[in-house]
């Protein structure tokens, strides 16, 4: 009974989140699609949480510990890399009232 209601609650959340996703995103102008894709990409890095949760459970063998460390590392790359890269892209849309820099400045001033 309790399990069933957890499932229905979670499914309700799932459906609502899907609708929110549609509504929020469908208003984005073309120009921002690449940053948006990169930003949503960073957000699904939230799977990191799954790794953090399971590594805390008791009974993980050595092999499990290895794959969980990899999973956490992967999740971290997804989150940290994703947000940083999106930030770099978006910084470039800001108007830059600065002296002309050499053409090959390559945007290394990330943040």
């Amino acid at each position: 009974m309790i399990l069933a209601s957890t499932l229905t609650t979670n499914l309700a959340i799932l459906v609502l989140a899907g609708f929110i996703g549609f509504v929020v995103i469908s208003k984005v102008p073309n120009t921002l699609h690449t940053p948006l894709m990169s930003g949503t990409n960073a957000i699904h890095g939230i799977v990191l949480l799954g790794g953090l949760l399971i590594v805390g459970f008791s009974g993980n063998g050595t092999f499990n510990k290895v794959i969980l460390v990899i999973a956490i590392a992967f999740g971290t790359i997804n989150v940290v890399g994703g947000f940083l890269v999106t930030d770099r892209m978006l910084e470039m849309f800001k108007s830059k009232p600065k002296p002309p820099r050499d053409a090959d400045g390559e945007g290394r001033d990330a943040s």
Binding site: F19, H44, F74, V80, F83, V85
Partner: protein, 472 residues
Amino acid sequence: MILASSFLQEQNFLDALYIVAFALFIQGLRGLSGPTTAVRGNRIAAVGMAIAVIATLLNKGEGNWGLIVLGVALGTAVGVPAARQVKMTAMPQMVALFNGVGGGAVFLISWSEFRLTDGYSGTATYIAVFSLFAAIVGSVSFWGSNIAFGKLQEIIPGRPISFGSAQQIVNLVLLILALAAGVDIAAGSHSEAIFIGLLICSALLGNAVVLPIGGADMPVVISLLNAFTGLSAAATGIALNNTALIVAGMIVGASGTILTNLMATAMNRSIPAIVAGGFGGGGAVEGAEGAGEHAGTVRSTSAADAAIQLAYASRVVIVPGYGMAVAQAQHAVRELTKELEKRGVEISYAIHPVAGRMPGHMNVLLAEADVPYDQLKEMDDANPEFQRTDVSLVIGANDVTNPAAKNTPSSPIYGMPILEVNDSHSVIVIKRSMNPGFAGIENELYYDPKTAMLFGDAKSAVTEITSELGQI
């Protein structure tokens, strides 16, 4: 009892933090919908992520700090330099890679869950089902994204690689095998060999689906895989009863689907067609037929002539495309336009929705080269202006300028929205050769009498024009 209630309170607190986290995600995504709020939006979402991670670390049974620190340190050591150093032109493959590792994390988490519970014994069936779904989709996404990365990075040939007509059957068999393995485990077989079989089938499926897809369709594929990873994260969330995962994963699943659709529409491609069978076949054959129709002549020009033409124009529209991105010519183009502006030429850039490798990618590249935002015109604003344009300078764009999309119903790209470059008084096309573009079809524009072709690498050709301009 006291223990239970304090645990409950703690759980409530953690759940509250999760609610804050996904509220921030939603707010952040809303911010990403406008150029002025986008930077802040992204940062708001990042703060949400930090809160979600902290809430998880506060969890009661949380331990094994050594492993957590190790994993996070490894991930940071790889992720931060990669994100900081990647060139703007290589952005799409970077996104593919980040997406891939996300999918990798999903299937590894499912695997560890399977092992920890001895094959989902003592858990509800639905938990096994969602966890297995996550394993399959995560694995497909991981391998598919890696292939997409390899293709864009040109480690793997960009052209379609496939089993030919057997491709669909192979894909279908792999999918059925993966699903069958999943059903078997969900029904209670507890066999790890079958779980590994499921991972292998999904891995092969990820490879088999993406390998036959040509480089031009890759953005659509990355976007699709992005949505997949989101869905698999949501499934992991249901298996672990974690609200933050469900909400964040599902929002990404929904947004990724929309984005995929928009990109596919802009290219006049359907998602099923892309997934089912690569670009090759149809387009190339019809292209060959099309080549016969245009036995017209192509007029080629020199950098000096192009410079003169541009210098005496009063209005020039730059049409940048994939070729400009590949040659990293955006800075050279900016130099050229600065030079032209000094001579009083009115400059604007016409950006096709799928110019570059992804929607908006071209804007990022031009913004990097300090092109003023107000010179960038989207297709609908740019098209009416071509009629009063003296010179359209097409740099490495092909299919998005092909008038066949408007005039030739038999063309494979018929109906695709294009930049109506052929309406301008004259056209200069910078292109490496007469090879057709990704769609594999001839471009009528090149045979138009008012079009002049300047053959060469985009960057060196533009630089040459700029230096010729200095001598006028």
